[in-house]
Structure formats: structure tokens, C-alpha cells
Amino acid sequence: MIIAVLRAAILYLLVILGIRLMGKRQIGELEPSELVLSLLIADLAAVPMQDFGIPLLMGITPILTLLCLSAILSVLTVKSIRFRTVLCGRPSVVVANGKILEPAMRKNRFTVDELMEELRVSGVADLSTVKYAVLETTGRVSVLPYAGDQPATAKAMGLSVREPGLPVTVVSDGRVVTRNLERLNLGRGWLDKELKARGAASPAEVFLLTVDELGRVYYIPREAGA
């Protein structure tokens, strides 16, 4: 039965590699070809994992084939707009100037119930506040409210605010992320000083420490006994 462990491990690592090669997308935002790939890879890996009579090669070969084809298609999608349209489709405007565009809804086989559901998920309960709603190629709906219905911004109110910084993780679960420390032009000396100021003897006592561009530090100590 050790064979079961080894086969499962090999196929699992292969599937992870495949998902990793697909790039930084969440499952909910996959293009149709990527969604198909995810489903197929999962099924292809499961078959030789369960049936030891099937050679591993019969699972690995189709998975590798799909990964290569996916990589080729994704590069072609980037290089050619026409190819991208064929493979991924085009976004469709389903609400324009507050009116539902029925031909677009029918063309996309998108029901009013589905539209209302997507609007609610986007935090919009009143259709009359929607200037544009676009059905994206991923199936999600992007909503652009009327200017008067958009949340007030500091700029709209004539307020001057400081730009926020992007927090960068410097210590994660007790380990110093040296690459990030160097990117911020900070050294271990600075880190040790900050830790001392917060009562930590070493990075091992820190669960999370982030620094942003403005130098603001966010610190969470490790729980006792963790």
C-alpha cells in the first residue's frame, strides 16, 4: 500500500505544478479554458491514483499535454486580440444608462434573476442606481453606479489625505523575510531595534510584522505556547 502513497504524492505534486503554472488567478475568475483545464486535471489525476493497474504514465501524459497546450494558448491569447476573443469571448454590457439591455441578456442566456443576484453580491440592491453593468468573460458582473450614487471619496469632498503605503511582510511566522527587508533598504539592525521597542527578543517571538512605504509598522506577537 506504500505504492498508493507514492502514486498519490507524485500526481498531487504534478497537479500543484499545473495549477501554479496557470498563474495568479482565483478559481472564481478563471477564463473558460482555464476552468476546463482545472476540472480535467483533477479527474485525470484521480484515475491512476485510485487504480494501481493503470500506469502512472497514463495519468501524467494527458496532464502534461494539457499543461503545455494551456501555456501555448495563454501566450497566444496575450499576443493576439482576435485569438483572445475567439477563446475567451468579449465582455457584454447588459445594463446601460440604468436600462437592462434585453438583446444582450438573451444573447448571453443571462436571466434577470442572475443579474439581480450578481448586483446584490456587488453590494447593489437598487437597479436604478446602476449606470453600467458589464457581464465579463469570467461570468462575473462588473457594476458602475451613477456618479451621484457612488461612495464619497476624499477627492470628491476636496479633502487632502496621505497616500497609503503598501505593507510588506518583514517577519512571517517567526521567520525574517530577508528579501523584503532588503527591498525596503532596511537592515537587521533596524529590525532588532523595532523588535526591542515592542518587547520581542527575537524574530521567533513574532507572528507577523509588516512595514509600509511610510514606515508604519504593524506588529502581532506570537501567542505564548505557540
Binding site: 494501481f52 499535454t65 503545455c68
Partner: protein, 126 residues
Amino acid sequence: MRQLWTAAALLAVLAAGLLLLGRGVDGLVAPLAEDLTRASEAARAGDWETAEALTRQASETWEAAGDRLRLAEPHQSVGEISALLEEAALNARLRDPEGCMAAVRRAVRALNALGEAERVTLGNLF
């Protein structure tokens, strides 16, 4: 573009490797099928020494290639052919003409099916 060429190259290598593997299986299967056919004719003619030698040789050749075959072929198919070849060799040793010819016939059919499955044909594609 580098990603595209890398993926295309990997796909080409995979396809070439598997084509070679298929040719290898075919190269093993075809001579075995021929030897078994000759063994069957020898058994029909009463030449049991030849029949026994050919069936035993076919069985040993298949066993020697077993590990390699199991890398790419369903284990059940490989095992079935092993059993059929052993049966043919046993029947040849026991001088049982009908048993030997029947086992040889089934073994040849199974070998041809395995070889056929590796060929790029419309039937296999669809």
C-alpha cells in the same frame, strides 16, 4: 514567447517519446505474434519440440519485457498475455494440440490488440 516555445518543445518531446514507446511495443508484439503462429502450425503438424521451444521463448521474452511494458500499458493486459503465453507453453509441453492452438490464438489476438492500441489510427482516436 519563451514560454510558448518551451511548452511547444515539451509537447513535441512528449509526443516523440510516446511514439517511440508505441513503436517499441509494436516491435516486441509483432515478432512474438509471428513466433506464436509458427508454434501453432508446428503443434498442428505434430512438431512438439519446435512448438514447445517457440512458446517457451515467447513467454520468456514477454516476462523479460514485463517491467518496461507495465510503465506504459495497462497492467491487466500485460498480466493476461503473460498468463496466455504460459498456458500455451504448458500445453505445448503436455503435447495438447487443441489446448496449445487455442491458447496461442488467444495470445496472438491479445498481442495484436495491444499493438493496435498503440497505433495512431482513426479508430483509436475516436
